[in-house]
Symmetry: C2
Subunit: 459 residues, 2 copies
C-alpha cells in the first residue's frame, strides 16, 4: 500500500494498523512526543508519524535516535485522526531504516535556494516544492491527452529527426554520427541518413499530413532549439503540443484554443488543489484565483491593426518605452497593457503583418496580413500561437519562393493542397509555458526535470 | 459535426438531414444507383453515401460526374438505415467539392504495396490500412497513460540531450551546432553545451532519480539509436515506455509487467474492434484471438538457467540451429520454443548471466547472474526488458569499474544508493514492438508515422 491509497480510503483505515514505505523529510523531538514528516511521493498530502518516547519500544527509540533526514524507512503504526488538520496521522509502533542516508546529504529541513536545488537537480524532486511542481506537470500532461482523446483527436508522434527546416533558417541542432572533434571534413552524403539532418523545431508540417486524413490530430512531444539565449523562458529542449484541425478557420481555431485552455485549467484545479495551495504560498501568487478568473472570463479578440490603434491611443497616458506602430511587433509592455488594463482578460490578437510570421500562414485578402493568432494571457504573456494555413497551392509556393524556402524538398507539404485540401488550422503551445503559468514558478529551469540550456547538459 | 459523433448518436439522427465534411475514397456507379465511400478519419466505421441518378438534382449529378477520388467534399443528406450492415448510410441531397484532387494523385482505389505506401508516407494515413494502424497506435498510447496515471504514477519527461552513455559505449547520435562538413577541428568544450552531447538511448537513469522521490514513475518519450542495421524491427528513432517503481523487487516487477500488458491489451480490444477486424483480414492473423489468449493465460516464469536446461532437453528432438548453452544468449528459435511449445503462453525469463546485461542490474548472490527479466511473447518475441536495480553502492561502483563506465560523471546516479535508497525495479518497452504485435504489421516502418532508418530521413 502507498500513502495515496491510505488517504483515499482513510475512513476505512482509521484505528487500523498499517505498514508503509517512504522517506523521512523532518524529525522533531519535543520532550516526550516526537513527530516525523513522512512521504512516498504518491500524494502531496502530508502524513505525520508520531511517537511517545516514554511508551515506545527501546528498539524503535534506538532506531529513531540514529535516524537521519532523507532515510528510507519501513514503518508500522495505527491510523488515528489528526484533529487539528482534519486529516489522519500514524501512531508509530515500529520503524526500520531500509536505506541509510549519508552524512553529506545536501537536502536539509530548511529552505534551499532554487539555484542550489538546480545544482542538485537529481535530488530536488524530493523537496516539497518540486513534489508540487512535477505533480502538476504530470497532471497537466494527462489533462491534455484526455482533452484531445475524448474529442476524437488522433495522437501523432511526428518525427524528431528531420531534413526540413520548417520555420526558415537557423537555430537547429545537427545530428550526426561523424565526430567533429576529429577535424575530418565530412560529407553529409556519407552521414547516417545520407544527408544533413537536424532536430525538429516543430511537428506541425507532418501533423498537417495527418489532419488531412484524420481531420483532428494533436502532437505532444519534445522540440529542440539551438538558441544561444540565457533567459528565464528559453530552454534548448522542451515539450510542445500542436493540434491541427481540418474544416476549421481562424475563428474556429480561437474557439478551440479557448475551450482547450479553460478545460485544462479546470482539470488541473480539480486535481491539484493541495499542490497549488502550496505553490501559492511559496511564490506569493493567487494562482487558483487567477486561473478561475481566466476560466470565467471571455477571451477578447482584436486584430493586430486594432490592437495597435488601441495602443497608440493608450500611449498618450501610458508613455510606453517602445512606441506602438503598425509596422512593429508588440512589445511585452503592450501585451501587458492589452491583457491587464484594456481587456482585463486574455486576448487573441489576430491577422498579423505577414512579415512577422511563418510562410505557411493563410494570406488575407488585404495582401498585408496573414490569418495568424497569438493568445496573450495575463501573467503569462504569449501562451499559444496558431494560424489558419495557406491552402492555396499557388499562393503557398509564391510565398515560399519569396522567402527562399525550397518547395522542391517540401513537395509533400505543398501537395496536401493539390490532393483534396481544405481549410485547416492549428496552434502550438509550449508545455513549459503552461506549467510556468499554473505553478507560478519564474524560470523554465524549475519546471523541467532536467533543463538543457547553453552550456548546461548536467545529469 | 464529424462522422464519429454521427455514429455515436445514430439513432438520434435517423431520418434527419446532416451536413458533413470529408474525403471520397471510392465511387461506384451502378446503373441508376451510385455509392461513395466517404470518411473524415474521426472513426474507422465506414460511411456510405448513396444517390439515385434518376432523381438527383442536375447540379449534384454534374458534381458527381466530375468527382475525383481523394477529393475533399461537403455533403448534405438524410441519415437512413443500412440494413445489410446493421449500420447507417446517407442518402445524398447535395455534394460540393471543397478541395479538388489532382489527376496525378498516387492513391487509387486498389491495393497498393506497403513499399509504395512508404514512398508516399505523407498520403498513407488516408488509406484504410493506415487509418487502422495509426488509430490503434493513438489508442494504445492513451491506454498506457491511463494505466499509470490511474495508479498514481508520475509522468516524467526525461531529457533527450545527454552527456551520459547509459548502456555503455556506442550507437548514439552526436548533437552539435558545429558544421562537420566544413572540416574544421571542433573542440566540444566550445560546442553548444560545452561538452560532447548525444541523444538519449534511455530515460531510465533519470527516471530512477524521480522514483526515489515519487515511488512510482513512468516515462513515455522518443529514444534514439544510431545502429546501422536495416531490419524489420530496428528504427533510429522510436518511442519507449519506462516505468520505475520503488519498494519493488524482481518478482514484483513481473507482477507489474503482467498486469500492465494485460490491461493495455484489454483496453485496445475494447476500443479498436473494427480496426483489429480489418487488420486481421489484411494480415491474415487472428489478432484479437491471440490477444484474448494472452490476457487469459498466466505468464510463465523460468530462470535463464532452467530455460537452458529445458532447451538442451528439447534440442534432442528439435535439433536447433543454435545449440542452447548456459553461456550463450537465447536465439529466436529458443524463444519461440519456450513460448509456443513448452509453455503455450508468454514467458518471463529471469536471472540472466551478468555479462549479457547492463551495469545497473542487481547482482545475485550466485555472483554469476543479475536480477534481469525479459518478457517473451508468442508471435512478438521479446516485448519488455527489465530488472531490479543494483542498490548497493559498493557493488554498483565495482561493476561500473569492471565495465569501464565512469562513476565520476554519474555520481548523481550512484548517490541514489547513498541517500535513502531502497529496492527498486523498472522495465522498458519499445512502443512500436507493442504496436507491431497488436496490429500484426511486420515492419516497424509501417507502425511509425515517419520512420527514420539508415539512409532514410524523408518527409
Amino acid at each position: 500500500m502507498d500513502i495515496r491509497e491510505l488517504f483515499a480510503k482513510k475512513e476505512e483505515f482509521l484505528g487500523k494498523e498499517v505498514t508503509l514505505h517512504g522517506w523521512i523529510r523532518n524529525h522533531r523531538n519535543q520532550k516526550k512526543m516526537g513527530f516525523l514528516d513522512f512521504y512516498d511521493g504518491t500524494t502531496f498530502s502530508l502524513l505525520q508519524l508520531t511517537y511517545n518516547a516514554e511508551t515506545a519500544s527501546p528498539d524503535m527509540m534506538a532506531a529513531l535516535s540514529a535516524l537521519k533526514i532523507g532515510s528510507c524507512t519501513e514503518i508500522t503504526g495505527t491510523v488515528v485522526p489528526n484533529e487539528r488538520n482534519h486529516t489522519i496521522e500514524i501512531e508509530l509502533s515500529s520503524l526500520r531504516v531500509i536505506g541509510e542516508c549519508a552524512e553529506d546529504y545536501p537536502l536539509q529541513p530548511k529552505r534551499h535556494s532554487l539555484e542550489f536545488l538546480r545544482e542538485h537537480a537529481y535530488l530536488r524532486p524530493r523537496t516539497r516544492l518540486f513534489q508540487a511542481v512535477f505533480r502538476v506537470r504530470s497532471v497537466a500532461a494527462m489533462a491534455i491527452h484526455e482533452y484531445f482523446q475524448s474529442r476524437g483527436y488522433l495522437y501523432v508522434h511526428t518525427p524528431l529527426f528531420t531534413a526540413n527546416d520548417a520555420e526558415g533558417a537557423g537555430n537547429t541542432f545537427t545530428v550526426t554520427t561523424f565526430d567533429p572533434s576529429k577535424g575530418e571534413k565530412c560529407d553529409y552524403a556519407d552521414d547516417f541518413f545520407g544527408r544533413h539532418t537536424s532536430l525538429a523545431v516543430t511537428g506541425q508540417l507532418e501533423g498537417e499530413t495527418f489532419a488531412m486524413a484524420f481531420s483532428k490530430i494533436y502532437t505532444f512531444g519534445p522540440t529542440f532549439r539551438a538558441e544561444n539565449s540565457n533567459t528565464r523562458t528559453h530552454a534548448s529542449e522542451f515539450w510542445m503540443i500542436e493540434p491541427e484541425v481540418a474544416f476549421t478557420d481562424l475563428f474556429g481555431l480561437m474557439d478551440l484554443e479557448e475551450d482547450f485552455l479553460k478545460t485544462i485549467l479546470t482539470t488541473i484545479l480539480s486535481r491539484c488543489d493541495s499542490e497549488l495551495e502550496y505553490l501559492e504560498k511559496y511564490n506569493n501568487l493567487p494562482l487558483r484565483e487567477r486561473m478561475k478568473k481566466l476560466i470565467s472570463s471571455e477571451i477578447a479578440r482584436v486584430s493586430f491593426h486594432d490592437a495597435i490603434t488601441i495602443l497608440k491611443e493608450a500611449d498618450k497616458t501610458e508613455n510606453f518605452a517602445f512606441k506602438p506602430d503598425y509596422d512593429s511587433d508588440l512589445a511585452k509592455e503592450h501585451e501587458k497593457y492589452l491583457t491587464d488594463k484594456k481587456f482585463g482578460a486574455p486576448v487573441f490578437v489576430y491577422n498579423w503583418p505577414k512579415d512577422f510570421k511563418a510562410f505557411y500562414m493563410y494570406q488575407n485578402d488585404d495582401k498585408e496580413t496573414v490569418a495568424a493568432v497569438d493568445l496573450l494571457v495575463p501573467d503569462a504573456g504569449e501562451l499559444m500561437g496558431g494560424s489558419q494555413r495557406e491552402t492555396r497551392y499557388d499562393l503557398l509556393l509564391s510565398r515560399m519562393n519569396e522567402l527562399g524556402i525550397s518547395a522542391e524538398s517540401m513537395y509533400w507539404y505543398c501537395n496536401l493542397r493539390k490532393y483534396g485540401g481544405c481549410t485547416h488550422s492549428g496552434f502550438g503551445m509550449g508545455f513549459e509555458r503552461l506549467i510556468i503559468y499554473v505553478t507560478g514558478m519564474e524560470n523554465i529551469r524549475d519546471v523541467i526535470p532536467y533543463y538543457r540550456t547553453p552550456g548546461n547538459c548536467d545529469f
